[in-house]
C-alpha cells in the first residue's frame, strides 16, 4: 500500500545538517498493523507525518496507493490524503469551539459530502462508539478517554484505508489505553484498516503485527509478530 525508499529528513543547524530521519526505506502492505517505537527524539513522529503527507522529506521516494507522492502537487496530495488517511493524536486535537458531533463531521465537510449523507454517517459513527449521548457536548466537557474516542471517530468517519496514530494512548490511563488498543485491533481485523501507530508502551506495541524500532532516525530493528 505504501513504500518509502531512502527517505531522509534533516534540519539545518548552523553549518551542519541534523538528520532526524536518516535514509529510511519501508514497505507497508494493506492490512498491516505496525507499531513504531524508539526513544524520545528518535524521529517517530517525523516519520509518521511524512507517511501521512503532513511533512515533506528532504530527499527520497514516497509511493502511496499507486501514486508517486514526492511528485504530486499540494492539491493532489491533499486529495489523496483526504481519501485514504485518518489521523489520531496524543493531544486529541479536537476543535474547542465545535461540539462532538461537529468535530466528527468536519472531515466530511471538506470532502464535500451532502448534508443528509453527513448526518447519517456521523449518526452511525456515534452509535458505533457509543457516544450518542455526548454529541452536543464540547470537548472541554469530556474526559481524556472520551476525547480520544471522538478523535478516533473523527479519523475514521470518512472511511480511511490507513489510520495513523501518534501516541494515541499517551495521555490516557492504562485502562483507557487498553480500550483504545482493543478498538484498533478490531478495526484492523474486522474492517481491514491498515494502522501505523507510534507508542512508548511495549504492551500496546504488541497489539500490532510488526514492531519497528527507531534510533537516531534509522530503523534499528524490525520484528514481525
Amino acid at each position: 500500500m505504501l513504500s518509502l525508499q531512502h527517505i531522509s529528513k534533516f534540519y539545518q543547524a548552523g553549518g551542519t545538517r541534523n538528520f532526524v530521519i536518516n535514509d529510511i526505506s519501508l514497505e507497508v502492505e494493506a492490512g498491516e498493523f505496525i507499531s513504531i517505537m524508539g526513544p524520545s527524539g528518535s524521529g517517530k513522529s517525523t516519520l509518521l507525518n511524512i507517511i501521512g503527507m503532513l511533512d515533506e522529506p528532504s530527499s527520497g521516494y514516497h509511493y502511496f496507493a499507486g501514486e508517486t507522492v514526492h511528485q504530486l502537487k499540494d492539491k493532489q496530495r491533499s486529495a489523496l490524503y483526504k481519501k485514504f488517511i485518518g489521523f489520531v493524536f496524543q493531544a486529541y486535537h479536537l476543535i474547542d469551539e465545535l461540539t462532538v458531533y461537529e468535530n466528527i463531521e468536519t472531515p466530511l465537510i471538506y470532502q464535500d459530502f451532502k448534508s443528509a449523507e453527513r448526518k447519517a454517517m456521523v449518526a452511525d459513527m456515534l452509535d458505533r462508539f457509543q457516544i450518542v449521548g455526548k454529541k452536543d457536548l464540547f470537548p472541554a466537557q469530556l474526559s481524556g478517554g472520551q476525547q480520544q474516542l471522538v478523535g478516533i471517530a473523527r479519523a475514521l468517519i470518512a472511511g480511511p484505508k490507513l489510520l495513523l496514530a501518534d501516541e494515541p494512548t499517551g495521555n490516557l490511563n492504562s485502562k483507557q489505553g487498553e480500550e483504545i488498543m482493543q478498538l484498533f485491533k478490531k478495526l484492523n481485523k474486522e474492517d481491514g484498516v491498515t494502522i501505523i501507530q507510534v507508542t512508548h508502551s511495549e504492551k500496546n506495541a504488541e497489539y500490532g503485527s510488526r514492531i519497528i524500532n527507531l534510533l537516531d532516525g534509522r530503523i534499528e530493528s524490525s520484528k514481525q509478530l
Partner: protein
C-alpha cells in the same frame, strides 16, 4: 458549506465576546461616522440638482475692480437691468429671473389677522421664477403663481404656521405694514440642498424698481435659463460683448461692468462670489471631510484587522486541525472571511442605528438638517453594500490569508501553535491610529486656543453689555424719541444707532478729495453712518480730536444733501493712507461720495470686521437717513429689569414690530460661526479617534498579556514586583504611542498653520501644545493599557504556570 461557516463563525464570535465586542463597537462607530459625514457630503454635492433644468440655469455675477489696488471683488448681487435687457437682446438666453432678498437686511414683519411674525426668509422674484426653477406646488401651479402683481407663494410649513389646516389660497398677508400680498400658491418646503431658500416668495413686480432698468445700483440676484445647447462660455462672451458696446463711451475700460456666468450646479461649492443667498459651501471642505470619513472608517478597520490577526495565536490550533481533516487553504480563507463579514454586517447595522440616533445632534453641529431621508433609498442601500464589501475585504483579507496559511505540521509539534503573526504590521497600525488621534488632539488644542483668543482679544470696541435691536429704517424722530425714553432708565448707560453692525461694517465708500493730502486720492474706505453717540457707546478710543457734537448732528439733518455739512472720525489707518499724522488731520476737509465735511477726530484702529481680515481705513460719520441697529449700552446689573424696561419702551414706540433683542457679543460670535463649527467638529473627531485607537490598543494589550502570561508568571516567581511588570508591558506600547506623536506633530503643525493663516489676528503655536497633546495621548494610552496589564501583573503566578 456556507451554513457551516456561518455557524462556526457565529459561535466563535460568541465565545470571544470581549474581542468581538471591541471589533464591533469600533467598526460600528466608524460606520456610523462614515454615514453621517457621507450624508453631509452627498447633500453638498447634490445642491440644486433637483431643478429639472439645472444644467441650463446659470447665475450672473459681477466683477468689480477697486481703483486703488486693483483687487477684484466678485459679487453675486447684480443690478436690476441685466435680466430684462439680456433676455430681450440675446437669443442664447431663454428666460431669466431676478431675485431680491426682501428680508436680507432685517426681518420683515408679516401679519395675518391677529397673528404677527418676524420672517427672515422672504424673497421677491420675477414672474418666470417658477418656470426656471422646479419647486413642487401643493396648491396653485407654477405657470400662474405670479399672475397677480401682488402674488406670494408660501411654503407648506409657513402655511401651517399661519393657517393651520385652513386653505391659504386667496388669503392676504400684510408685510411690513406696506405690502398686501395675495397667496396664490403653496409649495413643498424648499429642500435643504437649494441655494435659493425661502418661506415666502413674492412677485418682484411689487418692488418699485421693477419698472426701471438700472445698471448702477446692485440689489438683485440674476438667474438665466439658457437655450438648450448653449455653452455657458459663449453666453458669457455675448453678454460682455453686449455691455462693452453699451458702455463704450464710459471712461476707463478696466473699471466698466464685467459679468461672468456660473452654472447653477457649481454655485454652491465653487463660486468665489460674495453675498450669496445662502452661505456657500466649499469644495475644499468636501475634500477634507471625505478624507476624514475615510480615515475614521479606516481606523475602525485597522482595529478589526489588528484584533483579528492577533487572535490567530489562539486559532492556529484550529487551523492545523482543520487542515489535517482535509481543509484546503481556500476553504479556510473563506471561513475566516465569513467571520469578518458577520462582524461587519452586525457593525453596519449597529452603525446605521447609531447614525440614526445621532443625526439630530449632528445636524445641529454642522447647521444643516440631515437624516437618512436625505438619501435616495437605492443609493443608500448601494452605499451600505459598498461599505460592507470593502470593510469585509479590507479588515478580513489579511488575517484570513495569514491564518489560512498556517501549516498543519505546526500543531502536531505540540500545543503552542503559531505565533501572533506579523507583529510589525500590527504595531505600525497602532502607530497609525495614534498618529491620527494625536493629530486631532493638537488640532483641537490649537483651534480652541484661537477661539479663546478671538473671544478675549481687545478689538478696540467694547462689546460687553451692548444690547442690539434691529430697527431697520425707522425715522430719525422716532429713534430720537426712543433714545430719549431709554436713556432715562438708570441701568442704561448710553444709546446710539448705526447703519449696520459695528462688529461687521460693510459699506464701501471712496474718499476722492482731501485738503492738501499727499496720499492716495481715490481711496477706498469702509464707511458707516452713525448716530452721534456711537463712539461713546462702544468705547472706541480717540487718539486725536474730539467726538461728534450736537452741532454735527444738526448739520446733517437737512433733507437736501447739498446743504448738509458732514463731520468724520477716521481711524489711524485711514489718516495714514491720506499721508497725515493723527493731529494734522483734525479740521481737514474731505469729500466722500459727495459728502463734504471736516475731520473731527481720529480713532485708534479697531476691528470692525472679522479677525480674518486686516484693519483697513474706515470713516465714521453722523448721518440720519437710515439706521439698521439700535445699540443700547447697559450697566449689566439687574438685566431682567433692564430688558423689561427696554421692551416696554419699544412696545410703545413700535407696537407693530415684535421685540427682538440680542447682544452685540452674539453678533460678534456669529462672525466666527464657521470657525467655531470647525473647532467643535475637531473636538468630536478627536474624541472619536482617541476612542477608536484606545479600543484597538486595548484589544492588543489583551493578547499581548495573554501571550505573555507564562513569562509574567516566571518573572514574578523570580521576584519581579508588580510595578516592574507593569513597566515591561506598558513600555512596549507606549513606545509606539511615542512614535505616533513624533510622526504626527509636524503634520499637525503644518495643517494647523494653514488653518491659522486664515486669520490675520492669530495665536502662535507654542511648543507646549505638542507636549500637551503628546502627554494626553500617552496618558490615555497608559490608562487603557493598565486595565489589562494590572490584571496580568497581579495574577497568581502559580496558577498561570500550572496551566501550561
Amino acid at each position: 458549506m456556507i451554513k457551516n461557516y456561518l455557524k462556526t463563525a457565529w459561535r466563535f464570535l460568541l465565545q470571544n465576546k470581549l474581542t468581538s465586542l471591541i471589533s464591533l463597537t469600533g467598526l460600528a462607530i466608524g460606520v456610523g461616522c462614515f454615514l453621517l459625514l457621507s450624508t453631509y457630503i452627498m447633500n453638498e454635492l447634490r445642491y440644486d440638482r433637483f431643478n429639472d433644468k439645472a444644467d441650463r440655469i446659470v447665475r450672473l455675477v459681477q466683477h468689480i475692480k477697486s481703483t486703488n489696488n486693483n483687487e477684484e471683488i466678485i459679487n453675486a448681487i447684480t443690478p436690476s437691468a441685466p435680466v430684462p435687457v439680456f433676455k430681450q437682446a440675446l437669443p442664447e438666453i431663454a428666460d431669466g429671473a431676478r431675485i431680491f432678498n426682501y428680508s436680507g437686511y432685517k426681518p420683515a414683519t408679516v401679519q395675518y389677522s391677529d397673528k404677527l411674525f418676524n420672517e427672515r426668509n422672504i424673497l421677491m422674484a420675477d414672474e418666470s421664477f417658477f418656470k426656471i426653477f422646479s419647486f413642487d406646488f401643493l396648491e396653485g401651479n407654477s405657470l400662474t403663481a405670479f399672475n397677480q402683481i401682488n402674488s406670494v407663494v408660501i411654503s407648506a410649513s409657513t402655511a401651517k404656521k399661519y393657517f393651520g389646516n385652513d386653505d391659504p389660497i386667496g388669503k392676504i398677508l400684510k408685510v411690513n405694514n406696506v405690502n398686501s400680498m395675495l397667496i396664490t400658491g403653496v409649495i413643498k418646503d424648499v429642500p435643504a440642498y437649494s441655494q435659493i431658500k425661502f418661506d415666502l416668495i413674492g412677485n418682484y413686480a411689487m418692488l418699485s424698481r421693477s419698472k426701471t432698468r438700472k445698471w448702477d445700483s446692485a440689489n438683485d440676484y440674476s438667474y438665466f435659463l439658457l437655450k438648450p445647447g448653449t455653452k455657458v462660455k459663449s453666453a458669457e462672451q455675448k453678454i460682455n460683448a453686449y455691455t462693452d458696446n453699451l458702455f463704450k463711451n464710459d471712461g476707463d475700460k478696466d473699471h466698466r461692468l464685467q459679468f461672468t456666468l456660473e452654472p447653477l450646479t457649481r454655485v454652491h461649492l465653487y463660486s468665489k462670489a460674495n453675498d450669496n443667498l445662502v452661505p456657500a459651501g466649499n469644495i475644499r471642505d468636501i475634500y477634507i471631510l471625505s478624507s476624514v470619513a475615510l480615515i475614521l472608517l479606516l481606523l475602525a478597520c485597522v482595529n478589526f484587522l489588528n484584533l483579528f490577526s492577533a487572535k490567530s495565536i489562539e486559532r492556529a490550533h484550529e487551523v492545523g486541525v482543520r487542515k489535517v481533516m482535509g481543509a484546503l487553504r481556500g476553504q479556510l480563507f473563506i471561513q475566516f472571511l465569513t467571520e469578518a463579514a458577520i462582524i461587519t454586517l452586525c457593525a453596519i447595522m449597529t452603525g446605521t442605528m447609531l447614525a440614526w440616533l445621532i443625526f439630530p445632534w449632528f445636524s445641529n453641529l454642522i447647521g444643516h438638517q440631515l437624516g437618512f431621508q436625505t438619501w435616495d433609498i437605492n443609493v443608500l442601500v448601494l452605499l451600505l453594500i459598498g461599505i460592507f464589501v470593502s470593510v469585509t475585504l479590507l479588515a478580513g483579507t489579511y488575517p484570513s490569508l495569514y491564518l489560512s496559511a498556517f501549516k498543519a505540521i505546526i500543531i502536531l509539534r505540540g500545543k503552542s501553535g503559531g505565533n501572533a503573526g506579523n507583529s510589525t504590521l500590527r504595531k505600525s497600525l497602532v502607530v497609525f491610529q495614534f498618529a491620527v488621534s494625536v493629530f486631532f488632539i493638537i488640532g483641537t488644542i490649537v483651534a480652541a486656543g484661537q477661539m479663546d483668543y478671538i473671544q478675549h482679544l481687545d478689538t478696540g470696541v467694547n462689546r460687553s453689555n451692548v444690547i442690539v435691536l434691529d430697527i431697520g429704517g425707522a425715522s430719525y424722530n422716532k429713534i430720537q424719541a426712543l433714545r430719549t425714553a431709554l436713556i432715562q432708565q438708570p441701568d442704561i448707560k448710553n444709546v446710539s444707532a448705526s447703519y449696520d453692525s459695528p462688529v461687521n461694517i460693510a459699506g464701501g465708500y471712496t474718499i476722492d478729495k482731501a485738503e492738501g493730502a499727499t496720499g492716495n486720492l481715490n481711496m477706498m474706505v469702509t464707511g458707516i453712518p452713525v448716530e452721534r453717540n456711537f463712539i461713546n457707546t462702544l468705547g472706541i478710543k480717540l487718539i486725536a480730536g474730539n467726538d461728534f457734537t450736537l452741532g454735527d448732528e444738526q448739520r446733517v439733518l437737512d433733507t437736501n444733501y447739498q446743504k448738509r455739512v458732514y463731520s468724520f472720525i477716521l481711524n489711524e489707518s485711514a489718516v495714514k493712507s491720506l499721508g497725515w499724522k493723527p493731529n494734522d488731520a483734525i479740521g481737514k476737509q474731505i469729500s466722500m461720495n459727495g459728502r463734504q465735511g471736516e475731520i473731527r477726530g481720529v480713532a485708534s484702529d479697531f476691528n470692525f470686521a472679522s479677525l480674518h481680515q486686516k484693519i483697513t481705513p474706515i470713516a465714521i460719520f453722523p448721518e440720519y437717513d437710515y439706521f439698521g441697529k439700535l445699540l443700547v449700552k447697559v450697566s449689566g446689573k439687574d438685566m431682567l429689569n433692564t430688558t423689561n424696561g427696554i421692551e416696554r419702551d419699544w412696545k410703545s414706540f413700535f407696537p407693530d414690530s415684535p421685540f427682538d433683542m440680542h447682544f452685540l457679543d452674539q453678533e460678534y460670535d456669529e462672525l466666527y460661526q464657521n470657525d467655531q463649527r470647525a473647532s467643535d467638529i475637531l473636538i468630536v473627531f478627536a474624541f472619536i479617534t482617541i476612542f477608536l485607537s484606545c479600543l484597538g490598543l486595548f484589544g492588543l494589550v489583551i493578547f499581548s498579556t495573554r501571550q505573555r502570561t507564562r513569562e509574567i508568571g516566571i518573572r514574578k516567581v523570580l521576584g519581579a514586583s508588580i510595578t516592574s511588570i507593569l513597566g515591561i508591558i506598558s513600555w512596549d506600547f507606549l513606545r509606539l504611542v511615542g512614535l505616533a506623536i513624533i510622526i504626527s506633530s509636524p503634520i499637525a503643525y503644518y495643517a494647523m498653520s494653514k488653518w491659522l493663516q486664515g486669520f490675520v489676528y492669530r495665536i502662535n503655536m507654542q511648543w507646549w501644545v505638542f507636549v500637551l497633546a503628546g502627554s494626553v495621548a500617552m496618558l490615555i494610552a497608559f490608562i487603557t493599557i493598565s486595565f489589562q496589564s494590572v490584571k496580568a501583573a497581579i495574577a497568581n503566578p502559580v496558577k498561570s504556570l500550572r496551566n501550561e
